[in-house]
Amino acid sequence: MPGMQLRICHLYPELMNIYGDRGNVITMVKRCIWRDIAVTVTDITLGEAIDPADFDFFFIGGGQDREQILVCDDLSGDKGQAVRQAVEDGVSLLAICGGYQLLGKYFLTYTGEDLPGISLFDVKTVGGDTRFIGNIAVDCEVDGIRAQLVGFENHSGRTRLGPEARPLGRVIKGYGNNGEDGTEGCVYKSAVGSYLHGSLLPKNPRLADWFILRSLRRKYELEELPGLDDALENAARDAALQFTMKEKRFRKRFGR
């Protein structure tokens, strides 16, 4: 697809990258290159301003409490406003775990730290005394595309969706947003927040392609993306889904 370009903004890559979240950016880049779409990645970190018009896709990964505090502070004000503006303009965005929490209304950590978010997602997060850790499978429907997502979650935050918020999907196995209401993640326009590490996009290439398509459609006349050979991606996802479901059956039988 010569002549097309996708500009990725990787937010806080050195601070917000826990559990291999950068795999999501690697996946976006490769799936563009394989289709002959020009792709650029710009790292934006503390103290660097953003122009919402400069990017077609934003990514922010998860981080530890300490890093989250630094990022929360940096996102307050103009920078967070720029990210919100971009999403309002239809730019796509993926936020994982800690990044997802900081794009909500607030994250009140278990140790009592109050981290105000940028209110992109209508969600509120409160830290719990235990961590939700394990393989997770999610039934998701975005834009009428149904897919099962698979990943690994590891978070103490319990996220509650507000009245305006739409979840990314329903948990089949695992905890998701809060371990209680069966929801996982949040979708707003072309922005997705999720608790799934894994990395998420490599094993869920349809979601990656959804981001690419949404990003390109803003700039170009485009119906579909050319298909890729996803045999390896699908095999890895199916294998992961299979043992994740096995864990569920095991848990059910033995009450663990």
Binding site: E14, L15, Y19, L70, N154, P202, A240
Partner: protein, 426 residues
Amino acid sequence: MRPEAPEEIASRLTGGCVLVSGTNGKTTTSNLLAGMLRASGLQPVHNKVGANLMTGITASLAQASDRRGKPRGDIGLFEVDEATLPAAIKRLTPRMVILTNLFRDQLDRYGELESLSRKIDAGLKGLSGGSCILLNADDPLVASLGGESTARKYFYGIESEDIGEIGLRHAADSKNCRSCGEKLSFSAHFFGHMGKYSCPNCGLERPAVDFAATRVELKGTAGSRLDISTPLWNLALNLGLPGLYNVQNLLAAVGGAELLGLDDHNIEAGVEGYSTAFGRGERIPIAGRTLFLVLSKNPTGFNEVIRTLGTEGRDLPIVAALNDRIADGRDVSWIWDVDFEELAPLARFIIASGTRAPDMALRMKYAGLDAARLTVEGNLKKALDKAIERSHEGETIYALTTYTATLDMRRLLTKIGVAAGYWEAN
């Protein structure tokens, strides 16, 4: 067994107890130190490979004592899981704690690095005033530990700056100042978040080093030649273990030995007589080829292995086995933090294996390995067979394996009779 037994047995060790903890390098550091202790005529009581939780330590103490609980050894030398360290300090009252490094490893088990280091700090506070802590100065997180402890602190580190790189890799975990949060600046960077650093904001500096590698000459998988300077000696040593991470392990062992009162001859003899710790770079002859087996269990370890392989040339036959058993960490996300982009051009082929073979294969695909050079074979024996079939007589096959995959490979090699059981080797 009565619950107080380990304390009782430990208290009867005339030489006291030494604990070695940290994410990477526990086994190598304790084996090196054990070799030096033996060279000096002492008999260390040592825990078995990987048995580094309290139960494993208790079992090894019980095994090394007679029926009345009298230990058959002079000094306890235990490698201790990072999360177990506070409990081990409380129960064993060690005379020395060595901390190698702290990386994101099995965080699904430990939670965050920050909370882990807080727990370790609380544990170190419980050390008695007469004991000492030996810390890796190159690791900003480790170097900041023990601030509230009354035990004496000593540091080891690499002083030879010419082997460092400029800039940090993304696998670096601890890049911000522990006291003020500012991004650290590195004048030399070794690997992971290891290097010579300072904080441009609050002025925090890497501590002065007591045990220093003043010259490092890396010789690929063959190891390195080192000049080491200590408060008492200047040593010139040949280390048969690859990579800078093993230089740090040796420094930890040298520091430990000197602080325990060993002399330079014991240290030299210990290094000379050292046989590789299980899976830490063993060469095993098999079917006219050599299998080079390297434990590769987290991003920093893996990146160092890849850097070492870079000195071995191109066109390498490689088996990469990824398991997700509890001892490996159930979460395999970390493979996306490894610079496999640098491994792909070195490989003639990569056979992805282990319980998470498809994940490993997918990572290799996105790292730029074309389909013709990539094979998925979950079964380790079949993967090894394929690697032998597709390599030439006299060639080295590189097996990069996570923790339990290394155990599986070792077991497999023992079964087909090309290697002794690792328990015999230790």
